[in-house]
Amino acid sequence: MSAEAKEFKWVGTRPVRPDGVPKVTGRAQYGADYRLPGELIGKVLRSPHAHARIRSIDTSKAEALPGVKAVITSADLPDHDFAYIGPERVAQNFWHITRNVMAREKVLYEGHSVAAVAAASAAVAEEAVSLIEVDYEVLPHVIDVDEAMKPDAPLLFEDMVTRGVEPTPDTASNISKRLEFGIGDLDAGFAKADHIVEESFKTAAVHQGYIETHACMARFDADGHGEVWSSSQGHFVVRAMTAKLLGISPGNIRATALEIGGGFGGKTIVYLEPLAAALSRKCSQPVRMQMTREEVFKATGPTSGASMTVKIGVTNDGKITAADATFNFQAGAFPGSPVMNACMCAFAPYDIENARTIGYDVVCNRPKAAAYRAPGSPISAFGVESVLDMLAKKVAMDPVAFRLKNAARQGTQMVYGPKLSHDGYVETLEALMDHPDYKKPIGPNQGRGVASGFWFNGGGESSATVHVNDDGTIIVGSGSVDVGGSRASMALMAAETFGVDYDNVRCIVSDTASVGYTHVTGGSRVTFATGIAVHQACNKVIDDLRQRAAMIWDVDVDAVEWRDGAAHPAGANVGDFEPLTIGELAAKRGLTGGPIGAAGTTNAGAQAPGFSSQFCDIEVDPETGHVQILRFIAAQDVGRAIHPSYVEGQIQGGVVQGIGWALNEEYIYDDKGRLENAGFLDYRVPVASDLPMIDAVLVEVPNPSHPYGVKGVGEVNICPPMAAIANAIDGAVGTRMCELPMSPPRLLAAMDANGADGDD
């Protein structure tokens, strides 16, 4: 598949990334790099217990320590009403959020923030933290989702009753919410099936694993105005949440996005920013904070661990007749897992007349779950795509052909309600089928596994500005944090729109005082939505430039057309004018009206969903249970790749994170609910030596609702790998793995139980 878009000059090309030089020379400023004169260092006291009531906190000794400038507890942050505000999937309840940022009545997980200190040095701050005395009443805890759902489980919230159940329960529960989607008639659908497979699965909670730990700087002045600099996926969200948690207007905070060393969804919320701001407000000095890796593991992210049951029926000729699934998701210490997404995405790649998904959102004594790459969808895909593999074997069909037979197309009824709006899935399956490696033979103890995934992709609110410099070079400012190459893709789309060289466009990430509201860099939304804002701003400037050329030529603006970076007479009858380049027009800006610039804003809709289909070849070591990835092919409908190298990087990154989720990553707790592997030595993410080159196949089915055909590309690639690898393991050694991670000891135990030892 070629990603090179021939009809464009810049879109689809691979110029050198604009953030490359500062990053490789070490000049890029990440969250922990920013410095201010007179800054203090902030540190957090965290709970040693998984679940405990806070009887009292005594900060007097810490406050008396020389060098300590401020100490805060939850008493320094306003409390909030218990109310779910905003959309249900991300219904924000600031009664919960303020308690996650700093515990009040109880600590709900090991690592839960209890107090914070700002001091003249890190050493003093650490000593001060150790001097804070907290009197805890330790309570029973619960870690596992199935245990947490039991009626006799320790309760995190003694007054929480399950929403979405009728009649409303009269007893408290750790189940925050039940939800259900359905179409058709399940019983009738299963009655038509010749084969039915029902299987249960478990997935581990996994962390987003960004290399850069959370870090920020905050400064509050005596006039009540403050600034925050941090590593985040959205500085407008940092501003909004910090303001709300401090009880001030967002207009009193200016937030600046620093470079980000990975987020993957985990930096769409705040942890340190409100604490640094509250400390700074208390002592009127800048406060810098940075988490250790241990703090990141214990107090941020991860995505949910889950248990689920999936049941699917097919006819002898491989047509799915019915599908039913129940998903139980750990939300962590506060409600709000991505179980709704799991329910909506689970069967989305398929045309199934009769389907139902049920989800449960369950609190337990773990850190509050945060978004992670296509939140929820990879978890449901593991169960669904594993069962599909079992069914394909039952009807003796090639797994890609089986999926093709049942593939959703534009107009297919989705289990969550509307009809599918865009094609793209079939094309990814055809790309796999046509891939030369799909026909290659495999050897002893080797297996080939196939799986697919779906993600909605996002749109929403974005803003951009465009300014033309004296010489015709162009500055594009956007409100989108550059996580995955958005400065390059925005500059490419601007260069294409203006018809100027890419090197003449510079793109920056503007702060919250310099550009309009822009939602987070997440949900695979930025190239689509912010790209529309940039395109809009460019066209406003082009209209202005045409007006100015018309003024210079003394003709009507309709007689001026814009192409190749210059104003041209629209026809021979307009007059004998030489084209006016953007540089020549910029040089006459004062004469024609002053500075040249415009803003673009959008609430972008009609985004297209993403589909990914993948296969991998693996080899199982029958003596150790180690799985070696031999080959990994990932085909994804990307709409149109604006900068193909970045798109390939997104696909490779998603697959690698999926491989880690599949084979190694998990949270290991002791019997007191304390995390035992809070570091990269013991929480093992894949490294380069574990992996083959991931072959990213760019399938381009353009989205007609975007000026350059863009679809989101950042997330769906993480959905298929877990099932693809499980399916490959089954092919290699005849052992169906239903629990993640499929680590060597777990696989070895399953093989022993199954009597499998691979091929001799």
Binding site: I85, G86, P87, E88, R89, V90, A91, G164, E166, L179, E180, F181, G182, Q208, F264, G265, G266, T268, M340, N341, M344, A371, Y372, R373, A374, P375, Q410, G411, Y416, G417, P418, K419, L420, S421, W455, F456, N457, G458, G459, G460, E461, G522, G523, S524, R525, N603, G605, A606, Q607, P609, S705, E715
Partner: protein, 85 residues
């Protein structure tokens, strides 16, 4: 009578807010008209739609707002709002 559109809700949403009725036909040119019409039938529902849903207009996903045009005879399906990572 002006152009009409078909309004649909998920089962859970309908059970909670429209007495279990999942399908309606209302006069509308903009999504604003749909939200107003539904709010007239079920007071308070308009705010729920704005706060809690994403909308699929003939399958195309949008954030629920006032400004989106709705085509005559089109399907307007309100589903739970989505966010990603």
């Amino acid at each position: 009578m002006g152009p009409t559109v078909q309004v649909r809700f998920t089962e859970g949403f309908a059970r909670a807010f429209t007495g279990g009725v999942r399908e309606f036909e209302v006069e509308a040119k903009l999504l604003r008209d749909v939200i107003r019409a539904m709010n007239e039938q079920f007071p308070g529902l308009g705010e729920r739609l704005v706060e809690e849903t994403t909308v699929a207009i003939d399958g195309m996903m949008h954030e629920t707002g006032y400004f989106q045009p709705v085509p005559p005879g089109g399907e307007v399906f309100f589903i739970p709002k989505l966010e990603g990572g």
